[in-house]
């Protein structure tokens, strides 16, 4: 188990290294304005050169790459240029992450509770009214772009219920709509996958045996189906927990939540290259870490994987 995890972790690190290098090189394709921004106009060529030299952008690319990794190893994510002049990226993120995490975790809990309940309800009523009813919900959320339905939620959510349109962290009521908005797709995804996994499990032979044992459907659902169906679901759970940190782009900007999601859009659209780079780094690392933890969690939950990957037993 430990050996498997270590090997898996090592592989994740290699992937991460390649992702970062690729992104780093891609970033060099961006216009150099990203390092002095709209000041370009006002600066003399000498001033511009000084800035680029100070940021080490005049070095050959491999030196830049080396410096980038050295900097990274020191835990330094660089300094923002345009978004907040001269402010370390770490500081900027430190202010954003709590909001994204709070909303992310809230939405995650909501989408797990509601999504799993919905999934179980669907699987139990497979082919019947409620299954179809919830399926339409899942279809709608999956098919229609968030930008469309979230807009209507904001529009009618605020005008009908009188909930505030702007986020204010001290006003609990202002948390409601963004939280609901953020969980909708998670609910749909959880429900859909849980239903699918449960239906898969329900068709398996061991369920027949469990029935033949004389277990009640309810006991089978709880002790066998749900438990087993939860394993594949658990695979992507760490990823979704980690992704809560990165926040929801739409919802954060719709309700003006000062989280990471909005930050990414702003950083890219305003060409703040060091900030973009740091964000891509974080997003990719979270993604890779999520996959890694998901696999480890799977291995913990599913004894078959544990042995296979260890090259153990049969």
């Amino acid at each position: 188990m430990l050996k498997y995890s270590l090997r898996r972790l090592l592989h994740s690190l290699v992937t991460l290294f390649m992702v970062l290098t690729l992104v780093f090189l891609l970033m060099r394709l961006l216009p150099v304005e990203g390092y002095y921004g709209e000041r370009a106009d006002k600066l003399t060529p000498a001033q511009k050169e000084a800035i680029l030299r100070k940021m080490g952008l005049l070095d050959p690319w491999y030196v830049q790459l080396r410096n980038f990794y050295l900097q990274l190893l020191r835990g330094d994510l660089g300094v923002s240029v345009i978004y907040r002049a001269n402010v370390p990226v770490k500081e900027i993120l430190a202010a954003k992450i709590p909001y994204s995490v709070a909303f992310g975790l809230g939405a995650l809990v909501l989408s797990l509770v509601a999504g799993l309940a919905m999934g179980i309800h669907m699987a139990q009523n497979k082919g019947l009214f409620w299954d179809k009813f919830w399926t339409w919900y899942v279809v709608f959320i999956n098919a229609v772009p968030g930008a469309v339905y979230l807009l209507f939620i904001q529009l009618y959510g605020t005008s009908i219920t009188g909930l505030p349109m702007l986020f204010d962290r001290y006003n609990v009521r202002s948390w409601i709509l963004p939280l609901v908005s953020m969980s909708l797709s998670g609910i749909a995804a959880n429900a859909m996958w849980l239903r699918r996994f449960m239906v898969d499990e329900l068709n398996k032979d061991y369920i027949r045996l469990a029935r033949a044992k004389g277990m009640s459907s309810r006991a089978i659902m709880v002790k066998h189906v749900l438990r087993n169906a939860f394993v594949p679901l658990a695979n992507y759970l760490p990823a979704s927990i980690l992704f809560t940190i990165s926040g929801s782009i739409y919802v954060e900007s719709l309700y003006s939540i000062p989280g990471m999601g909005g930050l990414l859009v702003t950083a890219i659209s305003r060409q703040d290259n060091p900030l973009v780079q740091a964000l891509v780094l974080i997003y990719s690392s979270l993604g890779i870490l999520g996959l890694f933890l998901g696999d480890v969690l799977m291995a913990i939950l599913d004894p078959r994987i544990r042995l296979e990957k260890q090259g153990g037993a049969r």
């Binding site: 992937t15 390649m18 229609v144 469309v148 339905y149 990165s246």
Partner: protein
């Protein structure tokens, strides 16, 4: 219990006659349990049984057809022409829907009805081009990945790397490095769209490449490429149809997203994303909400329809559902 008819038959035949040997017909023996199974026929049969899907298929076919013939119908307006109010000589701005302008006009007096169909055309065109690229390139990469063993490790690693950079970021960066335009939009979405397809194809190939009939083919000296084309791809055709159907709502979704964050098509090219964005700007004015409402409805109908169709087709093409 014998039916009246049976009684009649039996009475007509002499009892003795009944206990003589019948003519044995080997073909009739084969026929008893014969099933005339054909993959495509069964697929279509199962698909047609799904009433919702059939309805949506008809709806989408007519909608797509209408989208493309709409400009040639009589009495249609130019989607970018700015209409002038004959009384005031001013632009006919925010004119509510009526007989002349079925869906009203936008904030500079362009006909929303014409723009909506023009926008649908643009978005569908993007979606279809991206969808086709997704199949062609995705299948190509997936096939090589799954079948050419020496490249397997390399492609797996390449896939890992690319798929670990969030799609949002790749899309934004590309849309950003290039200037917003029709081509940029397509390039950006093509850059990431094929990943899912490639992995899907690869998985399918890995599952079936070692099946007996392929091993047999290889033993007989059939070249790899031919095995892929002849033995594996037919199996994947239904998968591809499904992926295209499902990629359409996906692509439209990304288009709306890119437009939302300001990296979409230029505003003077109507597209569903642009129309939605235009509508969003006036959504706070109840009288102008029709400008948000119409594009939102059309967009939802299209995306939901293709999504449902894709899934229905996926179900129908699964042999397990054919009995």
């Amino acid at each position: 219990m014998m039916t009246a008819k049976e009684k009649e038959v039996i009475q007509a035949i002499e009892e003795q006659e009944l206990f003589t040997f019948a003519q044995y017909d080997p073909e009739a023996a084969e026929r008893t349990g014969y099933s005339d199974y054909s993959y495509w026929r069964s697929t279509i049969r199962v698909f047609l049984r799904n009433k919702t899907a059939v309805f949506l298929l008809i709806l989408m076919t007519s909608l797509v057809a209408f989208t493309f013939i709409q400009p040639y119908l009589p009495g249609q307006k130019d989607p970018i022409k700015i209409h002038i109010d004959p009384n005031t000589g001013l632009q006919l701005r925010n004119h509510p829907p009526d007989k002349e302008f079925w869906f009203g006009t936008n904030s500079i007096g362009q006909d929303l009805w014409a723009r909506l169909w023009s926008g649908t055309r643009t978005s569908l065109l993007i979606a279809i081009i991206v969808g086709i690229w997704e199949i062609v390139f995705g299948t190509f990469v997936g096939a090589i990945w799954g079948y050419v063993r020496p490249l397997e490790a390399f492609l797996t690693e390449a896939y890992n790397v690319i798929s670990n950079i969030p799609t949002t970021i790749i899309l934004m960066l590309i849309a950003y490095i290039l200037r917003p335009s029709f081509q940029t939009m397509i390039i950006a979405m093509c850059a990431t769209g094929w990943l899912g397809m490639a992995r899907f194809v690869r998985n399918q190939i890995v599952i079936i490449r070692d099946r007996e009939y392929n091993l047999a083919s290889r033993c007989l000296g059939t070249p790899t490429g031919r095995i892929i084309v002849k033995n594996l791809l037919p199996y994947l055709v239904s998968v591809m149809v499904m992926r295209v159907a499902l990629s359409i709502p996906g692509t439209i979704g990304w288009e709306v997203f890119l437009t939302y964050i300001g990296l979409g098509l230029p505003l003077n090219i109507p597209s569903l994303g642009n129309l939605l964005n235009e509508g969003r700007r006036v959504m706070m004015a109840p009288a102008l909400r029709y400008q948000l409402f119409f594009p939102a409805v059309v967009l939802s109908v299209i995306t939901v329809s293709f999504y449902v169709l894709g899934n229905a087709f996926a179900d129908a093409s699964d042999p397990r559902n054919h009995f």
